[in-house]
Amino acid sequence: MRTPIAYFLLLAGLLFAMGTVGVLVNRNALRIFMAVELQLNAVNLTLVAFARMHNDLTGQVLAFFSMVVAAAEVVVGLAIIVSIYRRRRSVDVDDVREMRW
């Protein structure tokens, strides 16, 4: 007997919520980054779960694409964070607020 889809979705929702809260409450850029990864993985879990439910591999394929994009994004994002750190010896996002009115 298969595990009901609801469990997967519940777990995914929980992960996504944790990620969202993490993005909103953290000031450290690296922690925000980790929270964003958590959100991405929650979405990936949802995709895979629905793929299993429908017996359709499209969802799994999409999850792979998502992971590739996430990896690429991490590369660029980390590079930016590193260069910000080199410049100001800090990765606090609230300090980086030159781009405003």
Partner: protein
Amino acid sequence: MVETLTSHDASVLWVIPTLPLAISMLNLFVGKRLGRWAGVLATMAVAASFAVAVASVADLLSRPAGERLASQHLFDWISVGGFRVGADLRLDGLSAMMILVITGIGALIHLYSIGYMAHDERRGRFFAYLNLFVFFMLMLVLGANYLVLYLGWEGVGLCSFLLIGFWSDKLTNAEAAKKAFITTRIGDTLMLVGLATLVFKFGTLDFVPIFGAAPTVLTKDAATVIALLLFAGAIGKSAQLPLQVWLPDAMAGPTPVSALIHAATMVTAGVYLVIRSHVLFEISGVALTVVLVIGVATALFAATCAIAQVDIKRVLAYSTISQLGYMFIAVGMRAYAVAMFFLVAHAFYKALMFLGAGSVIHGMHGEQDMRQMGGLRKVMPVTFVTFAIGALAQAGIPPLAGFFAKDALLEVAQHTGRTAVYGLGTLAAFLTAFYLGRMLILTFFGKPRSDAAEHAHESSPLIWIPLAILAAGVAFAGVLELNPEGKLTSLLDPLLGALHDAGGLPFATLAEIAVAVAVVALAITWWIYGSGRIDPNAFRARMEPMATAAQHGWYVDRAYDVVFVQPAKALARMTGEVLDAKVIDGAVNGVAGLVQRAAAGGRLIQTGFVRTYALVLFLGAVLVLGYIGVRV
């Protein structure tokens, strides 16, 4: 009457206006280097034009009466769809007389100007404008359609403006030029509407098809509208009531300009226009009556103004307005040949008097006030004799030209049963003789009333030779129309239609009355101003406040100032300072300010806090998803 002349091609007509134009351009661009030659070349150009004009007219006259029409097509000017206007010239009896006057008298005035303007640094420019004027005036009278006529019409207006304000370093001169231009513009605008109406009705501006089709195409009312619109142009150009105010001020220009433009030629363009368009006026009938009434009113009005003037040139200006009124009287009575004869005679004696006045002013070192003159006949004999001939001619003393012209006019009035016109015309003739006698006596008789008058000198031969030639012309121009079957009538009647003579008092009786009126008027002026028995100043004082009112043109100027000029200026101020500054600028600045304020508020949402953006993003996503959830 519809024109039935057969036309022939003439290939030299274009030369007549082109000569002055070419020299005008030469003087305009290199006039400064030409020095004295500027005037000589300009005079030669007009004289050469005169020679060609004489040859053309002689050729015209050698043909039988029914074929006296020459035309020349130069090029297609406008060709839009079915509407075509060519640069066409045409020479017939009417334009023949005009071009002879323009080039003939024009050449003499150019000659005079060489002497008159000898010490002016900008004489090259002066002669350029003067020649340009001759060009436009010739185009006006030679044009074979209304558009060429209108080109000349506006062109002479422009030259008039340039020459009135020629000494524009003096503000009043520049203002007089502006006034002349704007006042005539009122008439010109109405005339342009008239031309547009012609295009609308006939689809062409050529004289021949318009006048041919007019009796069938136009209703009486349509003809009245068109004729009155054209006449409005004539009123402006010929300084008739109610647009007469610009001409006295136009005397600010150099005196040769007054003689050529504001006496002999340009101001008579209105008379020419009405005679040229006589077919339209005759279909209307009402329009002719309007012409007649305006003519009578102007002749009397201006004559009363002339009596009270103290500036010698302003006397002549009002006198010109009055005489133009006479011409319109003749036109209004359909006596076109008489009007043209009057026009030619007037061109001679008025040009003569203006040039004579110029000679006096020259001799008096710029003084124009007649109260400062007196006794000049002894020091300026040639000027005196020629000026007197001109004045006597205009006063109507036989055998000078003016006598025949005025008498022919009054005869027509009497013989067509227009007793009121005859009476008022005779009254105007009395006033004419009166102001001329007053001017003559104040200027040339009595004792010198100022140092300038005592030390005045005769002008150079360059100035008095044209005077002498014009005086001879005035003396003998009367032969053009010595009897009702005169040469002029026979030239113009096939073109314009003969006048039906209902009969009346015989010519000799009318002539005796006219001469008696003139002589009595002159005698009265002698009694008042010349005999010494009456103090002219006391006489004038007894006539106050009428005398001052007349001197100021019965305050028409002031009335126009209150009724039109001040409200227009107030309106301009209102639009400038309130409408433009507050409303229009306010709207533009208001919109810009609104955008600026909205932007100032809107940009505050760019806080620079990444986590705020993330929160807004999250809430936005929740909103969108929530909306989708509710929909589904």
